[in-house]
């Protein structure tokens, strides 16, 4: 890699349209209504881009939608109801998954191996759909140290990084995977290696 200086929001007269993408479902917000996470999407948009939120979900628009909806609904009641129920179930499922994600923790544990040396254990990254092997490789090149995926005593995959890099790891994880909330990362220390 030679240059890192040309990505999107340059100062010169760039003609590229800067599109806002939904932080929940990744689509342009005007398409959130077609996904099952609309309520979450709306919350996000209202918080991050209230202008766009007003534009998309202002009262008049909603009224229009309701009007067209009720028109569309009239003829096929049964089928439509079933479809709605299905969408609803799907939404609930995604909601549950999201909640599970929000509740799962990433743990960074420094484990002292002897007086001078320690290793850093990272668990739970897979809860956030992160490829552990790739992450381990990233850590290794980022911190210039050994890093590998190991099964812990409960048979769950974890990343073990050689050396005490827990603080740096904390920052690096936040930077690299914005979908991991800071509150969900736990930094701990373990004096004796348990085995």
């Amino acid at each position: 890699m030679s240059e890192q200086d040309t990505p999107a929001p340059s100062t010169s007269a760039s003609t590229a349209v800067q599109v806002i993408y939904c932080g929940v479902c990744s689509l342009p917000p005007e398409y959130c209504e077609y996904g099952p996470t609309l309520s979450k999407c709306k919350e996000w948009l209202q918080e991050k881009h209230s202008e766009l939120f007003d534009k998309l979900y202002s009262q008049t628009n909603i009224e229009n939608d309701v009007a067209t909806l009720s028109l569309e609904n009239k003829p096929t009641n049964d089928a439509e109801d079933k479809k709605k129920a299905k969408v609803f179930i799907e939404a609930a499922k995604i909601e549950r998954e999201l909640q599970k994600k929000m509740a799962s923790k990433v743990t960074i544990t420094r484990i002292a191996r002897n007086k001078k040396k320690s290793v850093t254990n990272v668990g739970g990254l897979q809860n956030f759909d992160i490829d552990l092997k790739k992450a381990a490789k990233n850590f290794a090149s980022k911190f210039a140290c050994g890093s590998s995926v190991v099964k812990n005593n409960q048979g769950i995959d974890e990343i073990v990084v050689q050396g005490d890099v827990s603080d740096d790891l904390y920052d690096y994880i936040l930077e690299t995977w914005p979908n991991v909330p800071e509150d969900n990362i736990e930094l701990t220390e373990e004096k004796k290696s348990k085995k």
């Binding site: 240059e3 040309t6 800067q18 398409y31 077609y34 490829d131 790739k134």
Partner: protein, 182 residues
């Protein structure tokens, strides 16, 4: 095209494109999309490293700074990704579908002629068959799919049945969800 695509598993090779080859690709893309001319240096900066990612099923991705810009099947035409089209909506031919077709496209369906000829739809440019188009939706600002016309826009209007535009890449398909990690 991307219904079963999984970038994590499907990457076969990844290579830096030599500058001579890069020039070829650039001119091929410009030949296809002459309206990209004014912004091509922004899209494919001359100094940037263009990376060719070869995937299974003969799909090639062109990426710059880990962003997928174009894709290609065998050595066929280059298709822009939706994210690129969102940035430069005017650089590519466009069609507009009515509201009713929107949902079906988002679940991967091809676009039937009536969805392109009804009241909310628009076919402003005369396009031949096999044109790569951005598919826009009634009442929406941004494109929702990249398509390939199966017949000319004249035929779409006159015949007005069967598939008018093949759905190649759409919002939330596996390609949309893919990101290239280094």
């Amino acid at each position: 095209m991307f219904k079963k695509f999984n970038i994590k598993e499907d990457i076969a090779t990844r290579s830096l494109v030599k500058s001579s080859v890069q020039r070829n690709i650039r001119s091929k893309i410009l030949e296809q999309y002459n309206r990209l001319e004014p912004v091509i240096d922004e899209v494919l900066p001359k100094k940037s490293s263009l990376i060719l990612v070869k995937c299974h099923e003969h799909i090639n991705l062109l990426t710059v700074n880990n962003e997928i810009l174009f894709f290609q099947h065998f050595d066929g035409p280059y298709y822009p990704t939706l994210r690129l089209l969102h940035k430069y909506p005017h650089a590519f031919p466009r069609v507009q579908v009515d509201k009713g077709a929107t949902k079906r496209i988002l679940s991967g369906a091809n676009i039937m002629c009536p969805g392109l000829t009804s009241k909310g739809a628009r076919l402003e440019e005369a396009l031949p068959a096999n044109t790569i188009v951005g598919v826009f939706a009634e009442g929406k600002e941004h494109a929702l799919a990249i398509g390939l016309t199966k017949m000319s826009t004249d035929d779409i209007k006159n015949i007005n049945k069967d598939i008018g535009v093949e759905n190649i890449h759409y919002l939330n398909d596996p390609l949309w969800k893919s990101s290239i990690e280094s």
